[in-house]
Amino acid sequence: MSTRLDFKMLYSDGALSHPAIAVLLMGKSGSGKTSMRSIIFANYIARDTRRLGATIDVEHSHVRFLGNLVLNLWDCGGQDTFMENYFTSQRDNIFRNVEVLIYVFDVESRELEKDMHYYQSCLEAILQNSPDAKVFCLVHKMDLVQEDQRDLIFKEREEDLKRLSRPLACTCFRTSIWDETLYKAWSSIVYQLIPNVQQLETNLRNFAQIIEADEVLLFERATFLVISHYQCKEQRDAHRFEKISNIIKQFKLSCSKLAASFQSMEVRNSNFAAFIDVFTSNTYVMVIMSDPSIPSAATLINIRNARKHFEKLERVDGPKHSLHMRMR
C-alpha cells in the first residue's frame, strides 16, 4: 500500500500545516463507499484493502480536494466489534471540523431499521460537534432495482430520510456506478461546496464569450467533476462531461505510474482544438475552440490572463476563509 503514489504528492504545498476540514463519507460496510471513492477520485483499489472487511481509513485521509478538504471514509454500523469500539471512542475526533457528511445507503439492504438507526446516531454526533455541516444522502446501487420501480423507491426513501434528519436539512440523491447518476450527484455536491460559485459562473461566461470559445468547462482539480460550464451552442453528446472526466482520470493514473503529474493538454485536429490547463488552485479549465485557424498561442495567452483574474476572485472570497475562522 505504501508504494502507491497518492495525490498528496500533488498537493504538498504546505497546506498540511493547518488542520484539515473533513468531508465524511460514511455508510454500512459493503454499501459501496470504497468503490465510489475510487471511481470519483481515481484511486486504485488494491485487493487486500477490501479483504480487511471494515475500512480502516485512518491512513487514507490524504485525498484532498477543493484545496483544503480531506475525504475520510468510515464504516458505520459494521459487524466488527473492534471497529465499533474504535469508532465510538474516536467519535468526537471524527465528527469535529466536518464540513460535509455524505451518508451512503445500499438500496438492497434488508435491515432498513438498523441503517436508519446508525444514520441517526451519526446525525446526533454531527449536531453536537459540527452543527453547520451539510448533509447529503446517497441511495446507492440503484441499478439493482427494476427501472419502473426506481422513482417510487427513491421517493419513499427520500421522504423517510428528510423526516429523520430534522432539524438538519439533508439533500438526497439516487446513485449507481453504472449510470450517470453518480457523477451528477457528486458534481452537485461539489457545486454546493464552492462558496462563490455563481460569481465564478458569470465570469466564466464572460471569459468564454470574449475568447469566442464553443464551450468552456471548469473542473474540480482532484476529481474532474464539472463545477460549471458554458456552451454557446447545442452539443450532441449529453454524457460528454463524464467521458472527459473518465479519460483524464485514466491519463492521470498512467502519469502517476511514471511519477509524473498532469499539468496541461492540447488536442487538435482539422475541426477543433481543445485545451485543458490548470486554472486556479482548485480547478482546471477546458476550452473548446471550433475555429482551428486561431493559433494555440493566442488561446493559451487568453487562458493565462483569465487565470490571474479568477485567482483574484478566489483569494478575495477565499473559499476556506470562513472555515478557517471556525477552526479552534
Partner: protein, 559 residues
C-alpha cells in the same frame, strides 16, 4: 492528418505496457469482457447512429473502471443487467465488417394464438378419456357444475402461479420456474416438496400411460386377430345390438344399482376353439400385454436425449381432434338418452347429484393441471401484458372440449338396455374391439403415448437425477435403475389394478394439493403480506383454497 481519428486513449494497451505491476496486471483476458465501442464521429451529421449514447458512455465507464482494480478483480466489472441486450451488440470481424448476432434465444416470441394453442395442447392429456366416467360418478348436472367451478378455481390458481415470480423484489427472476419461487419463499423444504409433488404427477401420468397402452395394444391385437380369423365376438359381451355396438365390459360390478341385470354373466373366454384359447392365453390385457410393452419401451427410456420424441407432439393434437370427431359421430348415430332423476337413481340412470362427486374433482385436478410449467409456456408469448387473457382463453377452450366430450358420451350412452353406471373410466372401453372407428382412435393414441412416454421419463430423470446427483445422466446404471422402477410400477398397476379413474384421481388430488392449492395460495399471501397489501377477505379466500385442496385429497380416500 491520419491521426485525426485515433482515439484519445488507446484501449489500455500502451498504458499497460508502460507499467510493470507484476502478476496482478498479467494479461488475464478471460476476466475482461470483450466489450468495445467504436469511436463516434460527432462532427459529421451522421444520420445513422450506429452506436447508441448509452453504449458509448458504458464503454467509457468500463474502460475507466478496469484501470482502478487488478485485472482479475471482479469488483468493478459490469454486471449482466447493465450490458446491452444481445440484439444491440455488433460483433466485429478482423476484416473490419460488423454484423449483429441474431437473437440466439430459442424461445423467440409467439403470437397469442400460438401460445393459447400450446397451453391447450399441453393440458389435453389422457384425462379426456375419463371425463364421461367422472360426470357419471358425480351426476350429470352436478358434474357439469363441478367442471365449471373447478376449471375457474384452477384458472385462478394458475394465474397466481404465473404472477408469483414478478412479485419478488430485487432479484432477477426471468428464468425461474415455480419450484424456484417455492425455494425462494420456503428454502430447501419448498424446493424438495415441490419437486416431490411434481414427480407424483409425472409418475402418476406414466403409470396411467402404461395401463392405457396395454389396453390399446391389447384391443388392437384383438381387432387384427379377429379380422384375420373372422371371429365374431359379439355374443360374448353384454351390450347393445346393431352396427354401433356399445358394450358394458363389467356388468356385475355395478355399485349403485339394486336391480340385477337380466342378461347374466358373460363368458370372457368365449366359445373357443383351441386356437382361440391359445391366443387368449398369450394375448391377455392384464397378464401378458403389459410385459410385451417392456421390450419396446424400456430401451426408449434409456435414451440420453428426448428431443427426437419431441417432434411427435403433433400426434397428440391429431388424437384429440379425432376423438372429438369420433364422439360427435357416435352421438349422432346413437342419439340422446337422457332422463333427469334428481336425487334417487332408477336402475338404468344415475341421479343428478351423487355423493361420489369427489372422484370427479380428483380427475379434474389432473385434467386442468399445468401449474408446473405455465411460467415457461407463457414466457414466449409476444404480448406479455395479454398473458392473463390468453391463459383464460386457453382454459376456456380446454373446459369446452372436456364438457363437449363428457356430455356427448354421457348423453349418447344407450341407457335402456345398458346402465349409465357402465360408463368406463376409459370410455373407449365401452366400444368393442371390432369397432373400426374406435380401432383407429386406439391406434392413434397408442402411437402418441409411445412417443410421449419417453418424454415423461426424460422429465422425471432430469428432475430427479438433477436434484439428487447434480448431473442429468450420472451413469447408465443409475438411469436404468430409475427406469426399471418406473416401468415396474406401471406393469404392476396394469396387472393388478388397471382402473385409470382411480389412478388419475389419486395422483391428481395429491399433486394438486401442493402445486395447485397450497403453495400458490401461501406464496401469494406471503408476498402480499410483505408488500403490506394483505386484506382479510383475500387471506380468508386463500385459506379457503388451501382447505379445498386438503378436502379434495382426503375425500378421495373415502370413495
Amino acid at each position: 492528418m491520419e491521426d485525426d481519428y485515433r482515439p484519445l486513449l488507446s484501449s489500455g494497451h500502451t498504458a499497460e505496457s508502460l507499467s510493470h505491476r507484476g502478476s496482478a496486471d498479467s494479461l488475464d483476458f478471460k476476466a475482461k469482457r470483450p466489450f468495445h465501442v467504436e469511436p463516434r464521429n460527432i462532427v459529421d451529421d451522421d444520420p445513422q447512429e450506429r452506436v447508441s449514447a448509452e453504449a458509448a458512455i458504458l464503454n467509457s465507464r468500463v474502460h475507466y473502471y478496469s484501470r482502478l482494480t487488478g485485472s482479475s478483480d471482479r469488483l468493478l466489472s459490469p454486471p449482466n443487467h447493465v450490458i446491452p441486450r444481445p440484439e444491440e451488440i455488433y460483433i466485429y470481424s478482423p476484416l473490419g465488417t460488423a454484423f449483429k448476432v441474431t437473437s440466439g434465444d430459442p424461445s423467440s416470441k409467439n403470437p397469442s394464438i400460438v401460445t393459447i394453442f400450446a397451453v391447450w395442447n399441453t393440458m389435453m392429456g389422457t384425462s379426456i378419456l375419463s371425463i364421461p366416467w367422472g360426470i357419471k360418478q358425480a351426476g350429470f348436472t352436478l358434474g357439469i357444475l363441478i367442471l365449471i367451478i373447478v376449471g375457474l378455481l384452477m384458472l385462478y390458481c394458475c394465474y397466481i402461479v404465473l404472477k408469483s415470480p414478478k412479485a419478488i423484489p430485487y432479484v432477477d427472476t426471468s428464468d425461474w420456474e415455480f419450484p424456484d419461487v417455492c425455494r425462494y419463499y420456503f428454502g430447501k423444504f419448498g424446493q424438495w416438496s415441490s419437486l416431490i409433488f411434481s414427480m407424483v404427477s409425472l409418475i402418476g401420468a406414466m403409470v396411467v400411460y402404461w395401463v392405457l397402452m396395454s389396453n390399446f395394444l391389447y384391443n388392437t391385437g384383438q381387432f387384427i386377430y379377429n379380422y384375420a380369423h373372422n371371429v365374431n365376438m359379439s355374443d360374448s359381451q353384454f351390450g347393445t345390438n346393431g352396427s354401433d355396438r356399445v358394450i358394458c365390459p363389467y356388468p356385475n360390478t355395478d355399485p349403485g344399482g339394486n336391480t340385477t341385470p337380466t342378461i347374466t354373466t358373460l363368458i370372457l373366454d368365449g366359445n373357443g376353439t383351441s386356437d382361440n384359447s391359445l391366443f387368449k392365453n398369450w394375448w391377455s390385457k392384464t397378464n401378458t400385454v403389459p410385459f410385451y410393452l417392456i421390450i419396446l419401451l424400456l430401451p426408449l427410456l434409456c435414451f440420453r436425449s428426448a428431443s427426437f420424441f419431441a417432434r411427435f407432439t403433433f400426434l397428440g393434437t391429431i388424437s384429440v381432434v379425432y376423438l372429438i370427431v369420433l364422439v360427435t359421430i357416435k352421438a349422432v348415430r346413437l342419439g340422446f338418452h337422457l332422463e333427469f332423476h334428481w336425487i334417487y337413481a332408477t336402475g338404468f340412470y344415475v341421479s343428478e347429484f351423487r355423493l361420489l362427486f369427489p372422484q370427479l374433482t380428483g380427475v379434474l385436478t389432473l385434467a386442468f393441471f399445468i401449474h408446473n410449467c405455465v411460467i415457461t409456456l407463457m414466457k414466449s408469448n409476444r404480448n406479455q401484458e395479454k398473458n392473463v387473457r390468453d391463459l383464460s382463453v386457453a382454459y376456456l377452450l380446454v373446459g369446452l372440449t372436456y364438457v363437449y366430450v363428457g356430455i356427448l358420451i354421457f348423453a349418447a350412452f344407450p341407457s335402456p338396455p345398458l346402465f349409465k353406471d357402465c360408463i368406463e373410466p376409459n370410455f373407449l372401453d365401452n366400444f368393442p374391439s371390432s369397432d373400426v372407428m374406435v380401432f383407429v382412435a386406439r391406434t392413434f393414441l397408442l402411437f402418441q403415448m409411445i412417443t410421449v412416454y419417453p418424454l415423461l421419463g426424460y422429465l422425471v430423470r432430469v428432475q430427479m437425477m438433477g436434484q439428487i446427483f447434480g448431473n442429468h445422466y450420472p451413469s447408465f446404471l443409475h438411469v436404468l435403475a430409475l427406469n426399471v422402477l418406473i416401468v415396474a410400477a406401471g406393469v404392476l398397476m396394469a396387472k393388478f389394478y388397471p382402473n385409470i379413474g382411480s389412478i388419475i384421481r389419486f395422483s391428481g388430488a395429491t399433486c394438486g394439493l401442493a402445486l395447485v392449492f397450497v403453495f400458490p395460495a401461501v406464496v401469494h399471501m406471503i408476498s402480499l403480506k410483505r408488500q403490506g397489501m394483505l386484506r382479510w377477505p383475500s387471506a380468508l379466500f386463500h385459506s379457503f383454497l388451501i382447505l379445498l385442496g386438503l378436502a379434495n385429497l382426503i375425500a378421495q380416500f373415502f370413495m
